[in-house]
């Protein structure tokens, strides 16, 4: 899979690219409304997303077609990850995984030599 276009699209979101990634990761676990996303992100990442940032990112993810709003449940609206959104997340995560494994591999000898 070519990660390039997805990578650049996510970066196009500017300061919202990181919150957007966290939201995509959260929605990969199933549809969630705004507050549930904030709680989930705080749980798995330790970041406390503020509502202004959360909705700034949601408003960018929606027109990209990466997430889709569902019917209102009271005053809350759940969002779900779309197929395109899952592809973006998958490609981004695979790049991150490659960076992590490369970094770990390269750090391992230096850790050994520093002993």
């Amino acid at each position: 899979m070519d990660a390039g276009p997805h990578q650049s699209k996510l970066k196009d979101l500017g300061r919202f690219s990181e919150p957007a990634l966290l939201i995509l990761a959260s929605l990969a676990g199933g549809p969630k409304h705004g507050y549930a996303i904030m709680q989930d992100v705080a749980r798995f990442h330790g970041t406390r997303l503020e509502p202004g940032t959360l909705y700034g990112a949601l408003a960018r993810l929606e027109p990209q077609g990466w997430i889709a709003p569902q019917a209102l449940q009271g005053r809350r609206r759940p969002y779900r990850l779309t197929k395109e959104g899952a592809n973006v997340l998958r490609s981004h995560v695979s790049v991150m995984q490659s960076v992590i494994s490369t970094a770990l591999d390269r750090l391992a000898p230096s850790t050994r030599s520093s002993r």
Partner: protein, 227 residues
């Protein structure tokens, strides 16, 4: 949180309700308020900078000219009256009825378009706006054509249709009468209220249709959320 008022109207129509629900559960600190202010500024710059609008933001027709569709039937109705004056043709009434149907369809569509994103209040407000503008526009056009008729403008086409003695002063006097403005106001309010009701019907129908959309999404879900 009053800061939400700083967001642009299109943003508030789309996100205010759910943002408010989030804020009700969220501990609002100074950081939250600053973040919301920054978000409001960002929302104002959003379209200009990115060229993106939320695909689901609807309830306002992308082209304002659709609000003039009922007015087209008003003109057609008037033309038919002139061309077929004296005939027993029911065409004139049919055209007028089509205008009302077009107006009702506009209001219903307004509500239907909001099925995914709006609350009852937002759908009703959108219907009120659409119904009021479209109805008032058609009414003003119809009255203007009528006044022009009173001023004798159509005598060349159908001498029997209007007063044989053209008197522009009649039209002028009638136009400035407060009664005319009151009629316009009442007509617009009635159109708005009826439009609001129709939009709610369209919105409710959209919700019902949405149930089928949810079923279709459930079919899609295993492949979309699986990691």
């Amino acid at each position: 949180v009053k800061i939400l008022r700083f967001y642009p109207a299109w943003w508030r129509a789309r996100y205010e309700e759910e943002m408010q629900a989030v804020l009700d559960q969220h501990q609002v600190t100074l950081r939250t308020r600053i973040n919301l202010l920054r978000g409001a500024l960002d929302a104002w710059l959003f379209i200009r900078r990115t060229g993106m609008t939320p695909q689901r933001h609807r309830g306002r027709f992308h082209h304002a000219w659709v609000l003039a569709i009922p007015s087209v039937f008003v003109v057609a109705h008037f033309l038919v009256q002139i061309l077929y004056y004296g005939d027993d043709s029911s065409l004139s009434g049919q055209v007028a009825a089509m205008g009302v149907v077009a107006w009702a369809a506009l209001c219903l569509t307004t509500g239907f378009q909001l099925r995914q994103v709006a609350t009852t209040k937002v759908a009703a407000a959108a219907g009120l706006r659409t119904g009021l503008i479209a109805w008032a526009l058609a009414w003003v056009l119809g009255e203007s054509l009528f006044l022009l008729g009173m001023a004798g403008l159509y005598q060349w086409a159908s001498p029997g249709l209007i007063s044989p003695a053209p008197d522009p002063a009649i039209a002028l006097r009638w136009l400035v009468l407060p009664y005319a403005l009151l009629r316009l106001l009442l007509t617009a309010v009635a159109g708005g209220l009826l439009g609001s009701g129709l939009a709610l019907v369209g919105w409710k129908f959209g919700k019902w249709v949405g149930q089928f959309e949810i079923v279709m999404r459930r079919r899609d879900r295993p492949s979309t959320t699986g990691t």
